[in-house]
């Protein structure tokens, strides 16, 4: 279980997050949504131990602020937004970086299997920097999956923290990646994802946290949170849920065959 209590973050003297309290359960996908600048990524960074904060954050009972980096690395993996790779590594070499040392000898086919999961089965020997933005994002996801390959480990559930995991993907790969997260949660792991796409959030999230101006505006299932009033206030524009447009083609991922 991920427990956040009374969490406050100040960056460069400015209060970015105000007293956030929430819990995320294993077996579930918890989405963090909200308008630009509402503090979504900062909240994720506090949860992963990247941003200093006041209050408390505990992952499987482990104090995130106090835990050793290697301890955290064995129970959670993080997919960051933009990553600039420094040297001409191949795709497989990058993916292998996710392997924790104890697993290296055990299963050498894991990198290939992780790549196959994200639809990059034949890309292993390509230069990473030659991949498109979306392919790079999926290859990084393969690396992150490798780090927490078993959704449940000896010390309890493992966690995936994803910062906008579908931001540069086409709709087919968006569904593929969200499906991977879904299966990870179904197998007993926990998923926390910063999301921009409300349709995908509604489709995949078990619960969602809506941030607005650094405060938790709403928390609950998509059914509870995604109402016209709540979303309109948070996003600062009129939003209508479950309303079909009058004209023109439209498309939602929910309508796609599984």
């Amino acid at each position: 279980m991920l427990e956040i209590g009374d969490l406050c973050v100040a960056l460069a003297g400015r209060q970015v997050l105000h007293s956030i309290s929430l819990t995320a359960q294993q077996g579930q996908i918890t989405a963090i949504v909200g308008p630009n600048g509402s503090g979504k990524t900062t909240l994720l960074r506090a949860m992963t131990g990247d941003a200093p904060f006041h209050g408390h954050a505990r992952l499987n009972g482990l104090d995130v602020a106090q835990a050793k980096l290697w301890q955290l690395a064995t129970i959670r993996a993080v997919l960051a937004q933009a990553t600039q790779l420094a040297f001409p590594f191949t795709v497989t070499e990058v993916v292998r970086l996710g392997l924790q040392s104890s697993e290296v000898d055990a299963q050498t086919d894991l990198p290939a299997r992780a790549l196959a999961m994200v639809g990059l089965a034949s890309y292993g020997n390509r230069a990473f920097q030659d991949l498109s933005g979306g392919e790079q994002q999926r290859a990084h996801l393969a690396r992150v999956l490798l780090q927490v390959w078993q959704p449940v480990g000896p010390n309890g559930p493992r966690w995936l923290f994803l910062d906008e995991p579908v931001s540069s993907l086409d709709i087919g790969h968006q569904l593929m990646v969200m499906g991977i997260a879904r299966r990870f949660a179904d197998a007993g792991g926990g998923v926390v994802a910063v999301m921009h796409d409300l349709n995908l959030t509604a489709m995949f999230a078990d619960q969602m946290a809506l941030l607005h101006n650094g405060r938790l505006a709403a928390m609950g299932s998509p059914h509870q949170v995604m109402t016209d009033g709540t979303l309109s206030t948070a996003y600062g524009c009129p939003v209508r849920v479950n309303a079909a447009p009058d004209h023109g083609p439209w498309l939602v991922p929910q309508a796609m065959p599984a």
Binding site: L69, A80, A86, F89
Partner: protein
């Protein structure tokens, strides 16, 4: 998009790296034998095989072997330091100069050469001829620690700040060096020039003994940093997510470079290009994985400097060429060639 031909298998790359390691070990052995067997006196390996005359013993034990050992040590230290710095700064053009080792050591050497005569006579007699290497090492070390302190805030080190502070510190050291050069007399100026061009002519077992404890541990333990440096290629935050203590990694790497590069500059003066060209060539050959890059850089750096030294001391015999000139003459064109190659394939 056309599928690229899969010319190399990933397993291939590590197998190839292992082969390269064997090849380089062989190359170092050959270069070592060539170094022992060549020199201005023309005494060859065959001459030495049938027992050593007193003169041959002197040439072998007091001239060629110390030069071989010092060349191998310094070459390995410079190449590994370069690879470590490039990994740390995530930049293939970084070298130990960036953390102030070069500027600091240079300032130390200039101070010693120009102001060495002002030391109290007792201290001067005690430290004597080792003043310049000693001061160069202290200067390199002090500059590195100062930079590290400048770039540290709240227990974390900003690599970007370190880079900028390094430039500022280099300029400051350059200015002070300028003042000292102004004060220097004719002979001191020539000493400064020769120091800046590097040389192994001052090789001695005493210098090797003094630098060994600073260089060998760094060479031997650097592969332990490989996983961290590989992860760092993803960025600092990503490396931490994988479980790498990046602050510790930075601290150890910088101290290791200050020790090994500082010791090499101290005993051999300014020798350029080894630190940049060697890791670069190896990345082209076997990829950027530091697990292979670091040991191979030690072997290739050692081989190249031993080879360069053979040229340095036989080309103009009985005089000798400063070795820094040899490495620059060969290294600079190779470096340009690498840049052109990279441009040709769209940048690696």
């Amino acid at each position: 998009m056309v599928m690229l031909a899969e010319t190399t298998d990933i397993q291939d790359r590590s197998i190839r790296a292992a082969r390269v390691t064997q090849g380089l070990a062989l190359a170092l052995a050959v270069a070592g034998l060539a170094s022992i067997g060549s020199g201005a006196t023309g005494v060859s390996l065959f001459d030495m095989l049938d027992g050593l005359s007193a003169r041959e013993a002197l040439i072998l034990w007091d001239i060629r072997l110390p030069r071989l050992a010092m060349g191998a040590l310094v070459g390995a230290a410079l190449a590994v330091s370069g690879a470590l710095m490039q990994g740390l700064f995530r930049n293939p053009l970084a070298d130990p100069g960036i953390v102030g080792v070069g500027a600091g050591a240079g300032l130390g050497a200039v101070l010693a050469i120009v102001l060495g005569g002002l030391l109290p006579a007792t201290l001067g007699a005690w430290i004597g001829p080792q003043l310049v290497p000693f001061a160069a090492f202290l200067g390199g070390w002090a500059a590195t620690i100062a930079l590290y302190r400048l770039a540290s805030r709240g227990g974390s080190v900003s690599v970007a700040t370190m880079l900028l502070a390094g430039i500022a510190l280099g300029a400051l050291a350059g200015a002070v060096t300028g003042v000292l050069v102004y004060m220097a007399d004719d002979r001191q100026l020539r000493d400064l020039t020769f120091w800046g061009m590097g040389s192994l002519a001052g090789a001695s077992w005493a210098k090797i003994a003094a630098s060994l404890p600073l260089i060998v541990p760094v060479l031997a333990l650097s592969p332990l940093l490989a996983r961290g440096l590989n992860a760092l290629a993803l960025g600092e935050a990503q490396a931490r997510h994988i479980g790498i203590d990046t602050e510790r990694l930075k601290r150890i790497t910088i101290l290791g470079v200050a020790a090994s590069a500082g010791a090499s500059v101290a005993i051999a003066g300014g020798i350029g290009f080894i630190g940049i060209v060697v890791p670069h060539l190896l990345r082209l050959a076997t990829g950027p994985d530091h697990r292979f890059l670091l040991p191979n850089a030690a072997l290739l750096g050692a081989s190249l400097l031993v080879l360069a030294d053979i040229f340095a001391r036989t080309l103009l015999a009985p005089a000798e060429l400063p070795i820094g000139i040899v490495t620059a003459l060969v290294g600079a064109p190779v470096f340009l060639w690498i840049l052109l190659q990279r441009r040709g394939i769209g940048g690696l």
